[in-house]
């Protein structure tokens, strides 16, 4: 088992999109969130002034790290152990789940609290622990909401953006067996109270890992609510699960990566909490977990190394590419079907699980390039989407119409030049502004490029029209 995808009965991609397009609430919610997060990022970038230099440095750091990943993982593991922690390597999701289950058994755990972690979604950890009759509580407010709803995150940063406050009030009222209003303070207070009890009583806290600093064996967690601090402070055992690529070699490197992550994710200059954990509590410490475990997960990532897709491992999961994507804007996160949505999901999911399962995703893009421009570590996302399409064409997997188009437009040959241009235009999410159903082309210097680039969907078309055609493969 690799990525555990969560639908019992997989719904075809086209159906998921059709369903999303029929949901006006969803579109309203996604639009508001996208605009808020995107504008925040752009403003934060302006404050930095020289944001392109930051992006370049962030990219250099990520590239160096991934190219030397074996060395840094070795250093990380040694330092975690020196600080009194245990390190476990897991080749796939099954292994990671089994490692965590074994720890849970040893601790005779009955309850687990979790702070937001995409990678544990990826390995289906909650389901596995629940099968052992362990009570699992997601503690990020957004994650808590979707856990109650029995759904999956629809956005890397804001997992419950597809839910309206009325829907949240409904869920919480049912849970608390009392009628709650849909006012934010009342809903927040309810969640706080419910989750406080969980934190105090939990046997194990499970977190993700935003960055692991190799030079000291520290796991760095970023959170605004404080649930990551609770999760890693109160239970006697802390397990951090990290995708193997999430390393910062030094604290100096962390400076750049952290500055970019938070600004790109929410537009804040820094998150409310940045917490760096080095091993378990020491003998002289007043609090903190007695045991610390770090689970390092491969789960298909190493297969991306050494391929033309390697840059995707530079991703720091900021969600900026989702916030500028016109397709994400219209279909929301769930339509992508996997754990990772938006442009990063469209590039990553097929790599982790193959084209059979996720072959449609690279087509869920207008190739407008806004994602590439937004990405703080400069992953050429839309180029990689084109590579996917090309690879599928070569493997004979692509729809007929698409195969012809790829030839006619000669995408692969025009690629490098276009990418350089995209870089020159810099960080501003210039121009790809969606007004309702029509996605406009970029103004100014982007114009010529987009005329060429967004061939499947001329500007005069509505998203729906474009989608209908794309679906039939007869643009």
């Amino acid at each position: 088992m690799k990525q555990t995808q969560t639908q019992a009965e997989p719904i075809p991609f086209y159906r998921r999109v059709d369903e999303a397009l029929k949901d006006p609430m969803l579109q309203k919610a996604v639009t508001i969130a996208q605009d808020r997060l995107r504008n925040g990022r752009i403003q934060a970038g302006e404050i930095l002034g020289n944001v392109d230099e930051w992006r370049k440095r962030a990219e250099e750091i990520r590239r160096h790290t991934i190219e030397n990943l074996d060395s840094y993982l070795e250093q990380l593991a040694a330092n975690v152990q020196k600080a009194g922690g245990k390190v476990h390597f897991a080749s796939d999701g099954d292994e990671a789940v089994s490692i965590i289950k074994t720890i849970a058994q040893e601790k005779q755990a009955r309850s687990v609290v979790k702070s937001k972690s995409m990678v544990t979604e990826e390995i289906g950890l909650n389901e596995a622990l629940e099968e052992m009759n362990i009570d699992v509580a997601e503690t990020d407010l957004g994650e808590y909401i979707i856990q109650l709803a029995g759904e999956k995150p629809s956005h890397i940063i804001a997992p419950a953006i597809h839910k309206t406050r009325e829907q949240v009030a409904e869920l919480f009222s049912e849970k608390g067996k009392k009628r709650l209003s849909s006012e934010t303070p009342e809903l927040t207070a309810f969640a706080r109270e419910q989750l406080r009890n969980k934190f105090i009583n939990a046997d194990i806290g499970i977190s993700g890992c935003n960055f692991a600093v190799a030079e000291s064996g520290s796991v760095v967690l970023v959170s605004n609510e404080g649930n990551a601090r609770m999760t890693t402070t109160l239970p006697k055992t802390h397990i951090a699960v990290m995708g193997m690529e999430r390393i910062a070699p030094t604290w100096r490197d962390l400076d750049v990566l952290l500055s970019m992550l938070v600004r790109s994710a929410t537009g804040q200059k820094i998150s409310v909490y940045v917490t760096a954990l080095t091993g378990p509590r020491r003998a002289e410490d007043a609090d903190g977990p007695e045991e610390f475990h770090l689970v390092v997960l491969d789960n298909g990532r190493s297969d991306i190394l050494g391929t033309k897709y390697q840059d995707v491992l530079h991703c720091i999961r900021c969600g900026a590419c989702l916030n500028v994507c016109p397709v994400y804007r219209h279909i929301g996160g769930h339509a992508y079907g996997g754990v990772y949505s938006g442009p990063i999901g469209a590039v990553l999911s097929p790599l982790l699980d193959g084209y059979d399962q996720w072959g449609e995703l690279p087509y869920a893009s207008s190739l407008c390039g806004a994602c590439t421009e937004a990405c703080p570590v400069r992953i050429p996302l839309h180029d990689l989407l084109i590579e996917h399409r090309q690879d599928m064409v070569n493997q004979g997997d692509a729809p007929m119409g698409e195969r012809l188009l790829m030839k006619a437009y000669g995408f692969s040959t025009s690629r490098p030049g276009l990418y350089e241009k995209a870089l020159k235009w810099g960080y501003r999410a210039a121009g790809f502004i969606s007004d309702g159903d029509t996605i406009k082309k970029g103004p100014g210097p982007l114009k010529g490029w987009t005329d060429h680039r967004d061939f499947p969907r001329p500007a005069s078309q509505s998203f729906r029209e474009w989608w209908q055609k794309e679906k039939k493969g007869d643009s």
Binding site: A33, R36, H64, E225, T250, L277, A286
Partner: protein
Amino acid sequence: MGQSTDQETFLNRIAQKLGRERRSGITPPEWPDHPYQNMTLPVTREDKIRHFIDNLAALDTRAEMISENEVAEKILDVIRRENVRSVVYQDDERLEQIGLGEGLQRAGVDTLKWSAEPDSKEQQLQNVEQADMGVTMADIGLAETGSVVLFNGGGRGRVTSLLPPIYVAFLEADRIVPRITQALKRIDEMAGAYRENGTPQLPSCINFITGPSRSADIEMDLSLGVHGPGKVYVFILDR
């Protein structure tokens, strides 16, 4: 322990996929310049303090410069304003030195010193959880963001700044640096010492705290205090 993969197998696979020999002991590059060198950051003490205060104000958080003999009076202010009845504080000499204990006594609130003493931790934790306000010293302040940095370890526990709904930090003015860069550099040096002599120099937990706990998970509507403290006060000690 579970069916984990042996470390060497795991790392060798990475090397093989990267199409080269296995690497070990790589030295991280010294980057020639730093992007923040072009930022306009405060340099003078006054500017750093002003930025720190302004940036917290933008997060609805009050930071205020006080002299050491005002500590008791200021803490009493907060206690009255927020209707505080119980206070937990870190087992930290520096807090005693500035006269916190005395101030709390004068205010007549229940107090608890959260220390590393092991007796009945569970009961104590309940008390921290019930406390209205937590007080700590901060080790570094960041002007660019209004953050306080706490090296948690020993008696300087983690929960004091986390569980109570109100959090008060004391910070010496001279400990305010322009931005996170200087704080991370210091941690980097501590980590370097760690590498050289093998004894852990980093505390088990370092926290950067910037204003009150916040969430925007319900329709992007801001709410404070969802898990951590919803109110934060920072007193900058002018010494």
